[in-house]
């Protein structure tokens, strides 16, 4: 309770804090430097506070949904229903890209269809609480909601396409033999509320402790763009008037970049402030987070090249559609 009260009080004093912090440095908002510094002192605590709140809630939610439970729910589900369920569970199931492969095999070996497994594997990293918290903090609930909806759509459709293509033969051979041997289930712990709260706090320490330097650095770069780059500078390159190829270009640039949502979103916010179109920027963001070379290299251990190429191609196509839809709709 004390924590919640402190959180609310801190959130209410964001603007006075930013004003007094810039004033203490002797800066006026009308100058380039003053604007940049004010932006930094307002955004940093705001984003960190919201992130802490949402990550805490997710940490508590995670104690209810273990990967083992998710797998049991998805086992034997058909394409379609299974894909929707898998993508949704991807949001709330604890997931770390370093366990992507064990999870992948664990799902398949329990009889979760390949296409359904992919829906989970696409949704889990892309639609995560850090991305949603940051989008909410910087663009409001509408954009966060759109990102959630479209991210789920991409995960569901991509999984269904992969499932329809029947690419099971492109799994590495040892993975297929693994499917036959049923493994013992690990029963999750039954927890009390105090332990669930502890888990939430631990999650905050773990996640926020890890991403805050990226966020501060990202907001720093964002603040510089905010203060110094002229208005509408991005409009010609990434804006609505930009040529049609700006969305595919943004996706292509995004793939080799490996960053988490934490580092990329503050920069994205600043770009949009300078006239970049939301769809182009979101496409860029999704491709940075959902399609990364390191993840593809890990997946190569279990997938043969044609399946990897299909996975990357289908997801990239979905992201492209999201980019165009956003640009035309808004």
């Amino acid at each position: 309770m004390l924590g919640i009260a402190a959180w609310v009080a801190a959130y209410a004093s964001l603007i006075p804090f930013a004003d007094s912090a810039s004033a203490a440095l002797g800066l006026v908002r009308q100058t380039h430097l003053g604007e940049a510094v004010h932006f930094f002192f307002y955004d940093t605590p705001k984003v960190l506070l919201l992130l802490t709140g949402i990550v805490f809630l997710m940490g508590v939610v995670h104690t209810f949904v273990s990967p083992e439970r998710t797998r049991a729910m998805l086992s034997g589900k058909r394409l379609g229903v299974g894909n929707v369920l898998a993508a949704s569970l991807g949001i709330v199931t604890p997931f770390c890209s370093c366990s992507a492969v064990p999870l992948f095999i664990g799902f398949l070996s329990a009889g979760v269809p390949l296409g359904v497994t992919f829906s989970f594997l696409i949704s889990a990293p892309m639609v995560n609480e850090v991305a949603l918290a940051l989008l909410f903090a910087m663009f409001g609930w509408k954009v966060a909601g759109l990102y959630l909806g479209l991210g789920l759509t991409v995960a569901i459709l991509a999984g269904m396409v992969i499932g329809r293509l029947g690419m099971e033969r492109y799994l590495e051979d040892w993975v297929r033999t693994m499917q036959a041997t049923q493994s013992a289930d690990y029963a999750g712990d039954t927890l009390h509320w105090a332990e669930r709260i502890d888990a939430g706090v631990a999650h905050v320490k773990n996640i926020v402790g890890k991403v805050w330097p990226y966020i501060v650095a990202g907001i720093g770069v964002g603040a510089a763009i905010h203060g110094y780059v002229p208005e509408d500078f991005m409009a010609s390159i990434m804006g609505k008037e930009a040529p049609w190829w700006s969305v595919p270009a943004a996706v292509l640039i995004g793939v080799p970049m490996y960053s988490n949502a934490a580092g990329i979103i503050p920069i994205v916010e600043a770009l949009i402030g300078k006239g970049a179109a939301l769809g182009t920027v979101l496409a860029f963001m999704m491709s940075v987070i959902a399609l990364s070379l390191p993840e593809i290299i890990i997946l190569r251990k279990v997938l043969k090249p044609p399946l990897i190429a299909t996975f990357a191609g289908v997801v990239a196509l979905g992201i492209l559609m999201v980019g165009y839809i956003f640009n035309f709709a808004l």
């Binding site: 273990s66 990967p67 083992e68 797998r71 604890p94 997931f95 770390c96 370093c98 366990s99 492969v101 064990p102 999870l103 095999i105 664990g106 799902f107 070996s109 040892w174 693994m178 041997t181 493994s183 013992a184 289930d185 690990y186 502890d198 631990a202 773990n206 890990i298 251990k301 279990v302």
Partner: protein
Amino acid sequence: MKVVKVLGTGCANCKNTLQLIAEVAQGRGAEIQLQKIEDLQQIMSYGVMSTPGVVIDGKVVHAGGVPARAKVESWF
């Protein structure tokens, strides 16, 4: 002597888990043989889906994240 295996593909959390177990076991004077299992096929054979996982004498006692210190202490 207990045989303790930490299952993980080499992420930071796996290393932290390994270190934590070594620390706690030493602090309690428990004799253990600590192994790190990085081979995917071996990890999968325990049915663990989220790493790091911990196996003591062939039994999975923990999976998915660094275990809490209290939990590790209960093992030794």
